[in-house]
Symmetry: C2
Subunit: 191 residues, 2 copies
DNA sequence: GTTAGCATGTAAGGAGTTACATGATTTT
DNA sequence: AAAATCATGTAACTCCTTACATGCTAAC
C-alpha cells in the first residue's frame, strides 16, 4: 500500500540528500538539474511529499520561532535518518528498470552517491538496452523500406543516429569508469 | 464524452489510411514505424479500436464467407469515409501541441498526407520549442555549475548536444521544405 | 501432442496532468 | 495599490500499463 511513484520519491530523496529544500524549489530542480527535460506538476509533487512525511523518510525543518525571516509560508523538508537509509538502498539497486528511458537519467544523476560496481552495471545495462533497440529498428526499417516516404525515413534515420550517439556517449562514460576502479568516494565531500 | 486518447486515434487512423490491418499488426507498426521508439500495450489499443468502431471512423472488413483463408480469428479494420474526413481534419491541425515531444513524431510520420504550409508550421514550431528549452537548460546549467559533479554535467551536456542535433536536423528538413514550395502531392501515389 | 507465437480482449490500478483555490511576497 | 511571481495544496480526470483470461495456428 501507498506504493507511490517510486521514481519520483527516489528523485526527491536524492535532491534532499544534497540539501534541505522546499517544494517549489524541488520542482524547479527536478525540471532542470535532472536529465534536463522533465516537467513535473505540483499536483504530483506535493502529494508525494505528503507520503514521504507519512513514511517519515523526510521531515519538516523547524524554523526558529523568533528567527529573522518572516517567510512563514515556505515548508522546508530534510531527510531523516530512515530516509537516508532508504536512499542508500535505492541507489544500491541496479534493477533492470534502471536502464529504461524513464529511470536511467535519474540514476545517473545520483552516480556520485553510487558505488563503482553499480555505476558500471547500469551504464552497461543501458548500452545493451540501446543496442537491442537499435537492432530492432534497423531490422524494421530494412523490412519497411518500400513503403517508407522521405519523412518517415528521415524520422527513423534521426532516431537511429540519436541512439548511436547515446551509445558512443555511454562508451566514453564506461571507459572513464573502468579507469576509476579505485572509487574516489563522494566528489562533493563538503560535509 | 468518449474523448479517448486523441493521439493514439490519430496514429491508428493514419496507419489504416495506408492499408487495412488487424490490431496485432497495428501494434507492431506503432512500435516501430512511428518515430521508432514507442511501446504500446494491447490494453490501450483494443479499447481504442472499439471506440473508433463506435464512432464509425473505422469498420471491420467483411471476409468472404466462402474464402480460401481459414484464419477467422483476425479482425481487419479499414477506414470509413467519415474516418478519412476525420483524419484529414487532424492532419490539417497544427495546434501548439503538435510540436511537443509526444505528438511531434506522429505528425511528422504523416507529413506525406499533410499540406506544405502545415508541415512548415510544425517544423518551425518544433524548432523554436527546442531552442526555448535549450536556452532554459543552458541558463540553469550556468547557474548550477558549482554544485554539478562530473556525472550530472555529462548528463546535461549530452542533453544539450542531443537538442542541438535535433535543431540542425529540423533545419535541414525546413530547408528542403522551402525548396518544395510546389506541393508534389502524395509521394506514395500508388492508388 | 505440446510448446511457442499469433490474436483478441477485460478489470484493476498506477502515475501523472489540468484546473482550481488560496494566500504571501516582491516588484513596478 | 496593482501586477507578477513565489508558494502550497486538492479534486477530477486522462492515458496508459499490468495482469489476467481465452482460443487459434504453426512448428518441433
Amino acid at each position: 500500500m501507498a506504493r507511490r511513484a517510486a521514481l519520483l520519491e527516489f528523485a526527491v530523496l536524492g535532491l534532499l540528500h544534497e540539501s534541505p529544500m522546499h517544494g517549489y524549489e524541488l520542482r524547479k530542480r527536478l525540471n532542470t538539474a535532472l536529465g534536463g527535460f522533465r516537467a513535473l506538476s505540483y499536483g504530483s509533487l506535493y502529494p508525494a511529499l505528503r507520503d514521504l512525511l507519512d513514511k517519515q523518510w523526510v521531515a519538516e525543518v523547524p524554523r526558529a520561532s523568533g528567527g529573522s525571516g518572516s517567510k512563514r509560508a515556505r515548508i522546508v523538508y530534510e531527510l531523516t535518518a530512515t530516509g537516508k537509509e532508504r536512499f542508500q538502498d535505492l541507489v544500491a539497486q541496479a534493477g533492470p528498470n534502471a536502464w529504461e528511458d524513464d529511470e536511467f537519467d535519474v540514476h545517473l544523476a545520483f552516480f556520485a552517491r553510487t558505488t563503482h560496481e553499480v555505476r558500471l552495471r547500469i551504464l552497461e545495462g543501458r548500452r545493451s538496452r540501446l543496442e537491442q533497440r537499435l537492432a530492432q529498428v534497423r531490422e524494421a526499417s530494412a523490412r519497411n523500406r518500400e513503403r517508407a516516404d522521405a519523412y518517415t525515413s528521415a524520422l527513423q534515420r534521426h532516431g537511429e543516429e540519436s541512439a548511436e550517439r547515446e551509445v558512443r556517449w555511454l562508451e566514453e562514460l564506461i571507459a572513464v569508469e573502468r579507469g576509476n576502479t579505485a572509487d574516489p568516494g563522494s566528489p562533493t565531500s563538503s560535509r
